[in-house]
């Protein structure tokens, strides 16, 4: 459909990291440096392609672009169907940019250099899985990628994590697998029921199903909940979140960055792409439930974050709160709120990714993540502290930085349809300031004690890794328009689709015509 469609860009985005992973796995055992080289080249290449896609993306269209569609298992109606629209565009780009930074910028600290090989192989496979999930327009394909993601993550946490890694990895794997089981059942049921009701043939194609199938209300709700459980675990939505603090805390830094940066978004993205799009009626119907859980998540996550003694756990709980905002916006069904949600997925990836990076740097230097062990770091490492401050303020949602724009859009859009939820949710911005500033005070302020006096300042390489994060944080905070105008058409189409199916009318506050306000006729 797009002019550049001759080049299978999306297929490349998925296949290149997969092939890279295979090459790393096949690289000679005795030359471990090849592993990192291959991983670097591959991920930088993918990143470059994703940025190129951003440039080529037509910002006026809400349709899927760069579509590539090839029959795969024709008898079952399964096809290799990929496409990207405003909702997935920035998640793909974020994935493309985050992986090279994680691969180049974070040292896995393998005592045995030969362990580099599996590490990079798993990371690249992870990238392929995440990319595939974001661009799949076929339920079967999506499920495959959604599941592939678990495997490398399991091994990364279990193999390169911290003291409690095995338990955390198992918990992560089983918890998300359980959710996926519901989704698998739902996918199969959706396909068969759809073929019996209106479609007349078996197909796993998302667009055909969403546009062609119609479900009885109760059926649609059951099917929706199958998907929703998988996504709710992934997000995670309260009270299904307890795998997250463990997984985050125990994962190696690159794992945490990827987990927070893009993997959690599989859940929120799934809600939009497969929840609202496939089952508009059920999504509308169950809206109070999701809004309530989202608001609970915002407050509860923030309160739990306040009381954490481990920096990584603190950031993990803050993710629960932030993703609560995204779920709130998703189920508000207004252009502002959903656009804000999509933007916030990216913002959270950037700022929380950067936070995990910096906590990783602290751990590397001090071999502790306990707030109580740290003190006065701003005195000895002012540049490090300044970088942390910018990222922290972005996470708190201070205007002028990226986090604010997304949060603001979510809240102002949700206010139109879910006023009282927003009144409560907005208190989350107070709590966000509380837990982050309190932690900052304990870690960075005060007089450094003996152990912290020799805390090394930010190094050049670390600075170079953080610079893109801070650049994005400032740029999108001040000039979010390029991002918003690419997201909005797709969001508009999605709401349109919901309206057609459910008769829902999006509230549109229109400017009251004012004869120029100030005293004309006096």
């Amino acid at each position: 459909m797009h002019g550049a469609a001759d080049f299978p860009l999306l297929s490349m985005l998925v296949m290149v990291p997969a092939i890279g992973s295979l090459l790393v796995a096949l690289s000679p055992r005795r030359r471990p440096e090849y592993a990192k080289l291959i991983a670097t080249v591959t991920s930088v290449g993918v990143g470059a392609m994703s940025v190129w896609m951003l440039r080529a993306f037509d910002s006026h269209s809400g349709d899927f672009q760069f579509v590539s569609r090839h029959p795969w298992i024709e008898s079952w109606g399964i096809s290799w169907h990929l496409g990207v629209d405003g909702i997935s565009l920035f998640l793909v780009v974020l994935t493309g940019v985050l992986f090279p930074l994680a691969i180049v910028g974070i040292d896995p600290h393998n005592d045995d250099p030969r362990r580099d090989k599996p590490y990079f192989a798993w990371l690249l496979l992870l990238e392929a899985g995440v990319m595939g999930s974001f661009v799949s327009l076929d339920l079967f394909l999506f499920f495959v990628f959604f599941e592939i993601v678990l495997v490398p993550m399991y091994f990364l946490i279990g193999g390169w994590g911290y003291e409690g890694r095995v338990g955390a990895a198992t918990k992560f794997f089983l918890y998300t697998m359980l959710g996926s089981a519901f989704m698998l059942v739902s996918i199969l049921a959706t396909v068969f029921i759809a073929s019996a009701n209106g479609l007349g043939r078996i197909t796993f194609d998302l667009i055909e199903l969403a546009e062609g199938a119609s479900f009885a209300a109760s059926t649609g709700r059951w099917l929706f909940f199958g998907f929703a459980i998988a996504f709710a675990v992934k997000v995670p939505v309260f009270p299904l979140h307890t795998w997250l603090p463990d997984a985050h805390t125990q994962a190696p830094t690159a794992g945490s960055v990827v987990l927070a940066g893009v993997m959690l978004k599989l859940g929120t993205y799934g809600f939009l792409r497969f929840g609202l799009y496939l089952f508009p009626e059920a999504a509308r119907w169950s809206r109070p439930l999701w809004l309530t859980l989202a608001v609970i998540g915002i407050i509860y996550g923030a309160i739990a974050a306040t009381m954490q003694g481990d920096l990584k756990r603190l950031v993990a709980y803050s993710s629960v709160a932030h993703l609560g905002f995204i779920v709130l916006g998703t189920f508000a069904f207004t252009s502002q709120a959903i656009t804000g949600s999509v933007m916030q997925m990216v913002n959270h990836g950037v700022s929380t990714g950067a936070l995990f990076l910096m906590v990783g740097m602290i751990y590397e230097r001090r071999h502790t993540r306990q707030i109580a062990d740290l003190r006065g770091l701003q005195h000895v490492a002012p540049v490090f502290a300044a970088a942390f401050t910018v990222v922290m303020l972005s996470s708190i949602g201070v205007p002028g930085l990226n986090g604010f724009v997304g949060e603001y859009l979510i809240l102002i859009g949700s206010f139109l349809t879910a006023r009282w939820w927003v009144v409560v949710a907005a208190t989350g911005v107070i709590l966000a300031a509380l837990y982050l500033l309190w932690a900052y005070q304990r870690v960075f302020h005060g007089e450094p004690d003996e152990e912290n006096r020799s805390f090394p300042e930010l190094r050049w390489r670390e600075g170079m890794v953080l610079l893109p994060f801070i650049g994005i944080i400032v740029f999108t905070g001040i000039y979010p328009k390029p991002m918003l105008e690419r997201i909005e058409p797709a969001v508009h189409d999605l709401i349109e689709h919901v309206s057609e199916r459910t008769g829902y009318v999006e509230p549109q506050p229109t400017a009251v015509s004012v004869d120029d306000g100030h005293g004309e006729g006096e």
Binding site: K171, L174, P239, H241, T242, W243, Y300, I303, A304, T306, M307, Q308, S335, Q336, T339, G340, G376, H379, P382, V398, P399, G400, F404, Y408, L409, I412, G413, F415, L416, V422, V423, A426, T427, V429, I430, A433, L437, W438, Q441, F444, H445, G446, E447, Y479, P480, K481, L484, E485, E488, Q508, P509, T510, A511, V512, V514, D515, D516, G517, H518, G519
Partner: protein, 642 residues
């Protein structure tokens, strides 16, 4: 200059970026000069814009400059746009003007500080944010500045962050302000829902034309007031401001006296048509909160010993006056008092900074005294500030406070009495401060030993770069009243109500009508009464603190600020913290416990099932036989197949 109004915030931005990139190389005093020059440039552009506006017809004194589209999503279209009109230019003038003087002062005050460039980095960022706040064309741009000044305030309060108290104070300021921000955000949402925009012209226009429902207007007004109460340190959110004195003194002067804390008053004035369109109780609440804050803070100031704490509570109290004015529809008087207060309070804060500087970082007034002999210029200028805030004519504070009291009486006699009592207290505690610091016996000599490191301890006058701002501000505090003189017999016509005429297009919808009220007719007598109150306060303080006619009345309860702060801290540290802890425990034990419990349950069931897998054929065959028997029994006996 209106076409280049963007230069006003852009120059401090350039200063900020320059110091950010070259700060270490610029060092001291280079960074300070760059920062001060940037603010001076802004001031000059603002002056140019002022004259441009002045030359325009009164009803068209408004210039909107759209920089770019900031947050455009569907029906929500928010521009990064600046609005130059009489109100914003008035604010910008004193922000940049006083800001420049304080920058100069700070070059001297921060001399020798290892983080000298960083201080000016924050200072320029602050001025930038403050200018966005006042020049914003819509609530969101103002909110950008609003949060920006909050962040800078946080940086600057905890500037000496190795001190635990400074770090805590900064955090407290930020978090308390965030409570207010919650209100501002919701006000914006409500406004957007009602009129589809957050721009001032749309909201105020809808309020004026009656398109905004009274209930909505009330909601917006009160929610904005929550924000204003946070930013401008009103009850019950004032408690961050006294702690904010942990910051370097130029910061206290600039942020916590002259500019940032008046942002709430500015916002209320900016939105005056909406307040006018709201239910009557909304302005009444504002007036009462203002009056009570004014009185409450004044009582605390009476018993403080820290030179800056007195000024801090005094600021809270004076801001209370401004909200009293806003609540009674005296917007011009509120802005007038904001300007004069900026003059004399910045002056006194800088004066206290000069004292602290000269006293080698001593802040306790009980260890001062007789400083006028060693610091004559500081003392002289401080005394001008004292006369201004005490309400002695013809100093600036007299005129503005008198105008507020006049409007208050027209609105409510009870509030007027509170205002008068506060005026007496203000004169009293300020006189007390002046006496304790500059007169009486020199108590610092007996404490010289505490400063052992210096050997011979002797306070000294500050260098010229610190004294020039003091002298300029003292001049402004003396004659500042001319911008809004009342219509008394001897005052020539052309000099009367200049600020009122200037602000008229902005405040016209909300401004109360004072002419024709009983208060207005009695205004000469009221002015005499106000002077008498000031005299009473001054005389009482002199009698107690200079002449020793009576023992000072400084009860512990007042010294500790009615224990309000302690109560809040005790609550946060006690039940608040326990509740938070309970949530965290609930999460690990109940929510996660359920998950772990399920896992353990599954495992133990599996464990028991596993025991069946013994590997012995006889066990298996026994189970098979039992199974066959069971099936047979089922079919034969229960279902009766045979």
């Amino acid at each position: 200059m209106l076409d280049v109004i963007w230069l006003v915030p852009a120059l401090p931005l350039v200063g900020f970026l320059t110091i950010l990139l070259l700060g270490r190389r610029l060092g001291e005093p280079g960074a300070g000069y760059i920062a001060a020059a940037a603010v001076l440039g802004s001031f000059l552009v603002t002056v140019g814009a002022f004259f441009d506006l002045l030359s325009m017809d009164e009803h068209h004194r408004e210039h909107v400059s759209v920089l770019f589209s900031w947050v455009p999503v569907s029906s929500l279209q928010i521009d990064m746009a600046l609005l130059a009109d009489p109100l914003s230019i008035t604010m910008a003038l004193f922000v940049t003007g006083i800001g420049f003087l304080i920058h100069l002062f700070a070059i001297g005050y921060m001399h020798g500080d290892p983080k000298f460039p960083k201080f000016f980095l924050y200072l320029n960022l602050f001025v930038l944010s403050m200018l966005m706040l006042v020049l914003g064309e819509n609530l969101l741009v103002t909110f950008l500045g609003w949060e920006g000044v909050g962040a800078c305030s946080y940086f600057l309060i905890s500037f000496w962050h190795t001190r635990e108290s400074a770090a805590t104070a900064g955090k407290k300021a930020f978090v308390t302000n965030r409570i207010g921000d919650w209100g501002v955000m919701l006000a914006m949402f409500l406004g957007f829902q009602a009129v589809g925009s957050v721009s001032y012209s749309a909201l105020n226009g809808a309020a004026e034309s009656g398109a905004l429902a009274s209930s909505t207007a009330t909601g917006i007004a009160l929610l904005l007031f929550v924000g204003a109460a946070g930013k401008s340190a009103q009850l019950p959110l004032y408690l961050w401001l006294p702690d904010a004195m942990e910051g370097p003194t130029p910061v206290s002067a600039l942020i916590h006296a002259a500019t940032m804390v008046t942002a709430g008053v500015f916002l209320m004035t900016r939105m005056n048509p909406v307040i006018a369109a709201s239910a009557d109780y909304a302005p009444q609440i504002i007036a009462w909160v203002g009056a009570l804050t004014a009185l409450f803070a004044a009582t605390i100031a009476v018993a403080q010993h820290d030179i800056k704490k007195v000024l801090a509570y005094s600021t809270v109290s004076q801001l209370g006056y401004m909200f009293l004015a806003v609540g009674t529809g005296a917007y011009v008087a509120a802005v007038f008092h904001m300007v004069t207060h900026a003059f004399f309070k910045a002056l006194m804060f800088l004066g206290s900074g000069s004292v602290i500087h000269g006293m080698h970082h001593e802040q306790d007034m009980r260890r001062m005294g007789a400083l006028r002999t060693v610091m004559p210029i500081t003392a002289g200028t401080f005394i001008v500030g004292w006369l201004a805030i005490a309400g002695v004519p013809p100093f600036a504070g007299f005129w503005s406070k008198d105008e507020i009291l006049l409007f208050t009486l027209a609105s409510s006699p009870v509030l007027y009495v509170i205002g008068l009592v506060t005026a007496v207290l203000t004169a009293f505690y300020m006189t007390r401060q002046v006496v304790m610091v500059f007169f009486g016996e020199a108590r610092w000599e007996s404490h010289a030993d505490d400063h052992g490191a210096h050997g011979e301890f002797r306070p000294h006058e500050s260098p010229p770069i610190m004294l020039v701002p003091l002298v300029v501000l003292a001049g402004l505090s003396m004659v500042g009243g001319v911008i809004q003189l009342p219509s008394f017999g001897i005052i020539p016509d052309g000099w009367r109500h200049r600020l009122e005429d200037w602000l008229h297009p902005v405040v016209e919808p909300g401004e109360a009508v004072i002419k024709g009220t009983g208060a207005y007719d009695a205004k000469s007598w009221l002015a005499l009464l106000a002077i008498a109150c000031a005299a009473l306060g001054i005389a009482a303080a002199i009698a107690v603190y200079a002449k020793g006619r009576a023992k000072p009345f400084e009860p512990e309860l007042l010294a500790r600020g009615w224990r309000y702060d302690e109560a809040i801290s005790a609550f946060m540290g006690g039940p608040g913290r326990r509740a938070f802890d309970a949530v965290a425990r609930f999460d690990s034990q109940v929510v996660d416990g359920a998950v772990t419990g399920t896992a353990t349950g599954v495992r133990s069931v599996a464990e028991r099932l596993r025991r069946g897998q013994t590997g012995f054929v006889r066990n298996y065959s026994a189970v098979v036989v039992a199974g066959v028997l069971g099936v047979l029994i089922w079919f034969v006996i229960i279902r009766g197949v045979l």
